[in-house]
Symmetry: C2
Subunit: 200 residues, 2 copies
């Protein structure tokens, strides 16, 4: 015997979620059916609304259902004259939570990865080019991940910015606060030494 | 800045899934939006269909969108004259996968737990009583979990079956196959001893 068709298809559909295999999907389906049908229906509605309604911000490419996201629509974010380039909308959220950055963002939605067929066109870098020429930016901050692809992407974007004569900086890499030197990998530690700051 | 309202509500709705907190929900939402909008839409449809369509089987109470589930609708499952009482539809699936049982099931959808307000009425034990009286059962197999609540439930159901003069048995508890005696807890080991079988 197998589960009834509707239940089987629900379990199959739940497996599209990242990190959810057969066992978790079965557990989720039973949980919703036994204890939270209302939550399941609400999730169905929100999923449909989000998948159909959420697009990319015209200016920074982050996720939003409006033409422009909350940050791009706020004229005060332009006054800082700083543009921060990140890989994902989650990175925007992480930086916003520090409360230290008041400028605008450009979200690449990935990184350059020629082997996967992701080039400048896929990251809409022409849009970034337009944005770089349109506003009087004082600084471009590269906050892509410190991976091979992230570094390559940062390098590419830096060259674009230099053509527009914009000052470019890269976020610092080094020993994380609270970390122990002993357990930090060599590359991070060498970044930490080469990027050392004078004590004032 | 926060996520846009639609995205925020999607993340909140995803948290109704068991084992999914804020971080996982955010990751799931981004994954669907970035890489699998089709899967997200399909999940929305399946969720709605399942939450609205799946009910309990008239006879055995397992999940099904039909009046009777595949097992109860199959007349050959009645011929064995065996009824197995389990706690959840997942238990039915586990027993079916062994391929050793050809009888019918009754799914309690839980266990007796007076402190949580779950008594005989919540488990539809009157339905089980009707079922016990209606068919010529040769044996009732109690396969509730070997927990305090599962044992108490088994005891209660056994008394019901005895009123109908039906032979009652409980699945064996002991050392799991492939397990090591040294690491098995005392209660299981004592079950294993008291339930020992003569070697033929």
């Amino acid at each position: 015997m197998e589960f009834s068709p509707l239940l089987r298809e629900l379990i199959q559909a739940l497996r599209c979620l990242p990190g959810v295999g057969g066992k978790s999907a079965t557990r989720m389906a039973f949980h919703l059916l036994e204890r939270d049908r209302e939550g399941g229906l609400k999730l169905a509605g929100q999923l449909k609304a989000a998948m159909e309604g959420i697009q990319h911000c015209q200016d920074c490419r982050t996720f939003t259902e409006e033409e422009k996201c909350g940050i791009c629509a706020n004229p005060r974010r332009l006054e800082a004259g700083q543009l921060c380039v990140v890989e994902t909308p989650g990175d925007v959220m992480a930086i916003e939570q520090t409360g230290l950055f008041a400028g605008r963002y450009f979200v690449l939605m990935g990184h350059l990865s020629p082997l996967d067929g992701i080039g400048p066109a896929e990251l809409d870098l022409d849009k970034l080019d337009v944005l770089l020429g349109r506003e009087p930016w004082g600084e471009l901050i590269l906050a892509t991940n410190p991976t091979v692809e992230g570094d390559a992407t940062a390098h590419y974007v830096a060259q674009m910015a230099r053509r527009h004569h914009i000052k470019v900086s890269r976020i610092a890499h080094g020993v994380p606060v609270g970390g122990e030197l002993e357990f930090v990998d060599g590359t991070t530690l060498s970044h930490s030494f080469s990027g050392r700051q004078p004590l004032v």
